[in-house]
Amino acid sequence: MKTIKQGTYFWQGNEACAEAAIIAGCRFFAGYPITPASELFEHMAKRLPQVGGITIQMEDEMASLGAVIGASWTGNKAMTATSGPGFSLMQELIGYAFMTETPCVIADMQRAGPSTGQATKCGQGDVMQARWGTHGDYSAIVLAPNSAQEMFTLTIKAFNHAEKYRTPVILLADEIVAHMREQVTVPSIENIEIINRRKPKAGEKAFFGSEEVPPMPAVGEGYNVIVTGSTHDEYGVRSTANPIVHRRLVERLNNKIQNHAEEIADYESYNIEKCKIGIVAFGCTSRAIYEATENAEKMGINTGYVRLKTLWPFPEKIIKKLTKSAKKIIVPEMNLKQIFYEVERSAHSSAEVIPLNKIGGGELITPEELTAKIQEVAEEKK
């Protein structure tokens, strides 16, 4: 069995992520065991050698992402997977991958934190860490799947973004999406868009600048590339005191993501032009919005939603659009208001933003709970 063929499969979210990674061209995985991401690691350990790839277990999460970065610099696509505690440890190397413009994918199957928290239970508390976890000024591309199917499609997208923008991309899933088994449809492989990093043309030497996303050489091919996490000029030479070099580099690294926020923004929306009450949700929590919207409509409440597939850069335009009709927006999350403030900021006082939070025990916000909240909000006096 080489790569998966077109067809319908019954996969765990973790498995869908692994198969998608292989289709995207991933040939190296380094990981450290952690619930609830271990099944992805185990599946890669079985599958990557079958396609000529390598899966290794490292001594910790820093080493895992370090090996992934080394592999990426040989011209290969590489990924790692973890959960909250390991994601915290990886922050150092996420910053390094960003600074050195190393494409790679980091899957974080969120569980209930802080710290060890409830290791086997779902949470959505890493939203802000995914955006702001490493030190210094940086920008992150973060995608949030809500089904096994989307684990598949967004994993391919994560690799494509990583290669296109030469940056680490975070697949921010959660325990529920990672562990549940669902039907996954794999389209014809030839029809799946796969993006590969741009390699330098003969004579090109500015591997770290002079254009938005510079070409990326591989080591061992005679480019004499200097890779460093210290501030460096467009040729990779360390420049630790020059203010212009630092400004130019760090602004470009951020701009290459922020200037493409709209292109990166991915979401599903329903009735956002007419609804009076809007819902903004992501990941496992967003699975309740369909039934809740239906329930609300049966009660005569005009409801719509935006389901975010891109969390960062935050898709503020679609939220702004939603606020043109919806004057009340409910934000259900399995954390204590992490995306809520982003929605409130994007709404910019043109709508009232109402949180609906639930943490602990891996308990989902049910369609009934969300329906009740919609009803409560609809009945409130203006």
């Binding site: 080394g70 040989t74 190397l93 004499n224 200097i226 996490g229 030479v237």
Partner: protein, 276 residues
């Protein structure tokens, strides 16, 4: 006829940031001389990985080569990724004692255990030099540093012996006065497969020597010369006497199946199972 050793052909024309009298110059020169004597006219068959600290700057950006200057302590993990996907390339790690056996210690042990096919050269100046002279895992007992102003109350780590225990295929330790031995050691290590570790005890006149009371670099080198003992000589010394000595020589040379070979054999086996 071998070409004369012209060090500048391996080096970028970039000013070196190291202090006058730093042992890094000796290690850099000795390494490149060894590479030259092995017949490498350039560094195109090498990828260098280094972490944070003065000695991590030996290859990056000075060597005309591919070099990856990683976060503190993470040179060996990055080297792991590079070597696994490019088994044909010589991967050499440079780092200080703080980088390799301080913050990066677990990576060092695990790379030796796996027998990862890389050469790791640790420049041991017994102190955190770049940050101003703080105590290191290699600082001798009772030595005063900026974070142990009354003398270190920790016992130092013997990195070379640890590498032997962990499974390295070649381990040696020399000081910057043992340039010939160090050069021959590098040449030998380059021809061996598996995890190879060379410790170069080196002088840091700025952040170590002057605080400890050495008047100049010459005094530090004299200290190395007078206190270096061979492995054989060291066997006759008791613990207190040994604590004041630098044990030099080759600690081990052996063959073990390497990580890269084992990984690729596994791929072959997995594909056979899959076909059946």
């Amino acid at each position: 006829m071998t070409q004369p050793f012209l060090i500048r052909k391996y080096l970028r024309d970039i000013e070196m940031p190291f202090c006058a009298g730093c042992g890094i110059f000796t290690v850099m020169n000795t390494f490149l001389r060894a590479i030259h004597e092995l017949g490498h006219e350039d560094l195109s068959k090498f990828v260098f990985c280094s972490g944070i600290g003065c000695s991590a700057w030996i290859p990056s950006p000075h060597f005309i080569a591919d070099s990856i200057h990683t976060p503190h302590g993470r040179s060996i993990p990055v080297a792991t990724g590079v070597k696994l996907l490019r088994p044909d390339i010589n991967v050499v790690v440079f780092g200080g004692d703080g980088d390799i056996v301080g913050i990066g210690l677990s990576h060092f042990i695990h790379a030796a255990r796996r027998n990862l096919d890389i050469l790791a050269i640790m420049v041991n100046n017994m102190v955190y030099g770049m940050t101003g002279g703080q105590v290191a895992p290699t600082t001798p007992f009772k030595i005063k540093t900026t974070t142990t102003p009354y003398g270190s109350f920790e016992q130092p780590l013997d990195a070379a012996r640890l590498a032997v225990t962990a499974g390295a295929c070649y381990v040696s330790r020399w000081t910057t006065i043992h340039q010939n031995e160090l050069r021959e050691s590098i040449k030998k290590a380059m021809k061996i497969k598996g995890f190879r570790f060379i410790e170069a005890v080196s002088q840091c006149p700025t952040a170590f020597g002057r605080r400890v009371g050495f008047k100049d670099v010459g005094e530090m080198l004299k200290w190395f010369k007078e206190n270096s003992v061979s492995i054989k000589q060291s066997e006759k010394l008791d613990e207190d006497e040994l604590a004041k000595k630098i044990v030099v020589g080759e600690f081990i040379q052996r063959q073990r199946s390497t990580f890269v070979d084992n990984v690729y054999k596994t791929i072959e086996e997995a594909q056979k199972i899959d076909e059946n």
